[in-house]
Symmetry: C2
Subunit: 410 residues, 2 copies
Amino acid sequence: MSLIVAKFGGTSVADVERIERAADKIRREVELGNKVVVVVSAMSGVTNTLVGYCDEISKLQDLREYDTVVSAGEQITAGLMSMALQKRGVSARSWMGWQIPFITNEMHGKARITDIDTTEINKRLAENEVAVIPGFQGVTPRNRISTLGRGGSDTSAVAMAAALEADRCDIYTDVDGVYTTDPRIVPQARKIDKISFEEMMELASLGAKVLQTRSVEIAMKKGVALQVLSSFEDHIGSDLPGTLIVKEDKDMEEELVSGIACARNEAKITLIGVEDQPGIASKLFAPLANAGIGVDMIVQNISHDGKATDMTFTVARADKERAIQTLENADVSCKEIRAADNVAKISVVGVGMISHSGVASKMFDTLAEKNINIQVISTSEIKISVLIEEDYAELAVRALHAAYGLEEPA
Amino acid sequence: MSLIVAKFGGTSVADVERIERAADKIRREVELGNKVVVVVSAMSGVTNTLVGYCDEISKLQDLREYDTVVSAGEQITAGLMSMALQKRGVSARSWMGWQIPFITNEMHGKARITDIDTTEINKRLAENEVAVIPGFQGVTPRNRISTLGRGGSDTSAVAMAAALEADRCDIYTDVDGVYTTDPRIVPQARKIDKISFEEMMELASLGAKVLQTRSVEIAMKKGVALQVLSSFEDHIGSDLPGTLIVKEDKDMEEELVSGIACARNEAKITLIGVEDQPGIASKLFAPLANAGIGVDMIVQNISHDGKATDMTFTVARADKERAIQTLENADVSCKEIRAADNVAKISVVGVGMISHSGVASKMFDTLAEKNINIQVISTSEIKISVLIEEDYAELAVRALHAAYGLEEPA
């Protein structure tokens, strides 16, 4: 007998028929003797409609009212899911954020979870009642409805699993797991059975948008075993058909490289001839941070003459113009600002790679063989990322996927 | 300075544009120095959609979950209305049923209000903040969301006005007041400026579906001055452009008859040759009451031979078949059960009429002149109702409207 948190995303509860199909899966988990907490998103499209109403009234909304409006989507699904479970003879009830209570801070619109009171739900779980919880929503100490930001239902599920010390948190979605790379680029991409939190975080932030990055962070911190699986196939979470995201373990070391990620939503900005003096990086990046612009890869070449250097970094493509403006107004002198958005970031991700120098050189060799020029390189403990011209992105992914032997065995 | 509760029905908040128009009216009330509580319905169509989802899953729903689902409609409008007010520089916040708290009993789906805690809202009203309240919803002592039944937003508004001892409760809707009869039947029908609670209750229950009957009952009991007015014209409640529903006063006695109502949703059932013995009415009507079938007009003719009598009554047309079945299974012997639904109930309503015998005879004379046969007659303190063949309904309404001189002065 296990305690399982099962989360269904918007496409998995898009209409009543799909809610019923999801309820069938939960019934099967319960029949195996498991205790289950279900976390549901809004039916797909509902949140966008509600956000649209808010934006139509004002772009400068009172976020407390925004949260009151948009949280209604998950509330609706939670009630419907409870009904669908009861129809199947499964004892169930819905719990709104304020009924649990699922407490957050007062950062409305993107609140952080501060405390989840599991007393009542634990009592009901002990009586074999399934708890159905609207994802994305909480309640503040002032008794107002809060939301965790877009995609927050993953976070709700993981936080709930952590608070309840659940055995597993199943994320039912429209893909059947995490792949060695994007199957639309490489048809031979292989589903990964098991991956570490760290690798998943890199893959998530690098374009494999299966899970909200924040939910993986919390799972890693709290040690919640996560599984990503498809809600459209005939399996349930306890069959372990998806990708398990767990703490690094022995098994994993055998595979140095777990996946190849590709992100096309970045732009490259280069400052030519920046004064090379202490504090220059801070002068450059503090204004960007203040403007809410996240900076990703940063490369500073060594100074040619001890006076001026070139600095390159990437930002989200949508932030490019704003970043240039911010830099033009910043207290930094440089000869020229160059920007380009025809770039792609290709990353090789794997837990064991840092201690194997061969991994990096294989990446560079493979790209060189294909005559793909590397513009920027950045590395971390578990990944090597390179920026290349966007036109070569698919070629690079295919070549690297083959070079590291990640294909599905024929 | 007055304290006003203003309620907007579904068509008055059907989309963002209409919500904005409603917010304009509230802004004008606030600019006059009034304190305002706004009660909102769900955007039109939303409640039907949500009820549809519930019914699609199961007709035998857990009504606690049903309430959780359907209450979301009003929650959405409340948040949007608060935003629209804030955009106009009007300080406002939404209050969900559980935040107020607006406490009801546990009869989910059609809960009764037991207590409204006005402490917090009163504090905010004193600070000139507008309170926006989702109609229809409350919270039970077990902290579950409850709803007051379809049309319950009128009841929410009136109960809120009573609890706050408001000066007036304005019901903004898609008609501009209560009319002497249905203007679709009689184009000369006149808008009534002022009407008593009792008359309004008769008119409401007799087919002039402007207000939920229960809301008028509460207003009468608690002495809440009600106004029905159109949200689609350029006036606000404080201009008093609609129909005021108030306690009977001197002014009213001048007009004996205030309106003519017509209801076509009833069916007539006649039991021929019922044993005439004590307790027979109870034996007949108790099973109907137990089956949840409301009985309206009841006529029992005197017994011809002291042994058997004929009994006629009306039920809602939708209940006709069920009523016949119930009677067939009841412990009552009769020769025959006859039923007909080609009937219409025409009623003359007016506070002063009981003491003026001329009112009834004028009704009978007028119908006789038009050769309209009266099947059943029933009277109360403030109304006379007759059942006639449905085909003659419009003719009867027009003739009576003219006979009592209710036309708009030319």
